[in-house]
């Protein structure tokens, strides 16, 4: 994008902006000349990491606040042209262990963000990050946006509830909202401390540490992965395209089996191994089998498609964590 890019000198609010996707987006927005305000609670183990903003600390405004605090949000949405709403509780297992926290963050807070926008800044453009988890067990593949919504965990139910709020506020109050349903996203600045949020972050950590990767089941289940730069591009694209307002889009990529993914990672890493093991019961009940999304809607309407080869993305990611591992332990 040139200096005439639509984000230049625009005020942009990014919730969860110290997290994985939020920090990568915020850095890119700063590079594009936007005036970025980050809202992040930096709750330990939720994904926010001050190191993610390294080198950009003075180029953006970091506002430590919890989106569960409606008063802060009432103030912070004012004067902003864009809201990239990425803050969320994203652990499926956590959502079963503590469904209230998931509800507060993924539903109640989203409603208060919408109310803040409705009352204080109805002209704001909102991009809401949702998840493939809402679809549940695929009834067909690839899963398009018309697929039945059958979440298999509290997290999926709650994320879908928030989606519906955003689209309702679009229909009723004419607030410019777009919902992006993300699939597995990976890349620099993701959380790699454990498997609570994503297994791929945990695999990256294990492979760097020389530990054996564990695959639940037969390893033949398919997943799709988007490299972070492609997801940032998708967010920026929908943010400024009026066709996207009031719409919901899947992201996605070519699927790969977990076994093949493990082998690819081991090859890139230069060493490592993996083993298959039975599902633990608490994961089996919320497992969805093979999944990959149909992203033809965003491709045909907004001309987005993933550009980063999986191998290159993984190389970049492993390189990053070899270099900065200490900040993600």
């Amino acid at each position: 994008m040139t200096i005439n890019n639509p984000y230049f000198d625009q005020n942009v609010l990014v919730t969860g902006g110290a997290g994985f996707i939020g920090s990568n987006l915020s850095r890119r927005l700063v590079d594009l000349g936007a005036n970025v305000t980050i809202v992040d609670s930096l709750i330990p183990d939720y994904g926010g990491n001050i190191f993610n903003l390294q080198g950009y600390e003075k180029k953006l405004s970091l506002n430590i606040a919890d989106i569960r605090d409606p008063y802060s949000m009432n103030y912070l949405v004012q004067g902003k042209k864009f809201l990239f709403n990425l803050a969320g509780q994203i652990s499926h297992t956590d959502s079963m262990k503590n469904p209230y926290v998931d509800l507060e963050i993924n539903v109640t807070s989203q409603l208060s963000i919408l109310e803040a926008c409705r009352i204080y800044n109805p002209d704001i453009r909102i991009i809401f990050a949702s998840t493939r988890q809402i679809y549940g067990i695929p009834q067909y593949l690839p899963v398009n946006e018309q697929h039945p919504i059958r979440p298999v965990d509290v997290n999926g139910i709650n994320k879908y509830t928030a989606e519906q709020y955003f689209l309702l506020y679009n229909r009723i109050y004419n607030i410019a909202v777009t919902v992006l349903r993300l699939t597995n996203v990976f890349g620099p600045r993701m959380r790699i401390k454990d498997a609570r949020q994503t297994f791929i972050g945990w695999w990256i950590r294990q492979i760097i540490d020389g530990q054996k990767l564990k695959i639940f089941g037969d390893g033949l289940q398919l997943r799709d992965f988007n490299y972070i730069d492609d997801v940032v591009e998708a967010l920026l694209t929908v943010g400024t395209n009026y066709k996207a307002f009031g719409n919901t889009y899947n992201l996605g990529s070519n699927p790969i089996s977990l076994k093949d993914l493990a082998e690819l990672m081991i090859k890139i890493n230069g060493f490592g191994n993996y083993e298959l093991e039975p599902f633990p019961p608490e994961r089996k009940v919320i497992d969805i089998g093979s999944f990959f999304a149909d992203y033809s809607k965003i491709k045909s309407e907004l001309f987005w498609e993933p550009k980063t080869d999986l191998k290159i993305g993984l190389e970049e990611t492993i390189l990053y964590y070899r270099k900065y591992l200490e900040y993600y332990l």
Copy 2:
């Protein structure tokens, strides 16, 4: 039912038990020999009315508590065989004016009721009252349980979220849950103070008061109405039928246009009139046009069908409010 009926001497908890449906159900359960505990907050204007329990005060236990209070519910679910979970915020317009309250009552509290059951009484049988409102604008008629879920207001989104929680806890924790999606219910003990919750309650009040009924739109929109006794029968039926566990059922009846309904009510009442008027904007945005539900699933699986003729139901209702109007003002 005989003395060998499945509710005889059983401990039954009814949330919202001083409200319209809850009180009629509770009275019937007492008649069947059940040990009924009612939970009701008796919040003014929510539908709970102590007069609804008249004559039964000493035959049941009335526990004043708000379902938003998780500590009370943790205690109250213990030792119960059945939970008829009827408490809710049911005003569509209120849900848009104060979405937080709707969320607290219809989502957060439902989750805490489920958690209470999971932890303290996982063998309880739960019957959850949901609403046709979750379907939104019908894409076809009659609307069956497979119809897409497209709620047009916060209330519909929230009720569907709760449904999903109940069915998830059935699948994951094996709690015996049934969801009933109610359509327009009418009869003695309903709230008739204003149009906030149901228009038919308000019409009954107006016709008794000799006021002109107002129909929004052309009056040709169809609706289906269930008389309260039929709904109580449906609740009792699903509660004890193992086939119903984990399932969702519509209730319903033969549809009638609002214009024909108004004319029928005026005829029964002996006097009155009505007029058509344009939709107020705040109602137009959440109006769903014609609606009537397909109740063939519950009919074929559990042999329930509505038995009360609309005319007879309306006669009973108008008679009741002529007699007891002062308690419902």
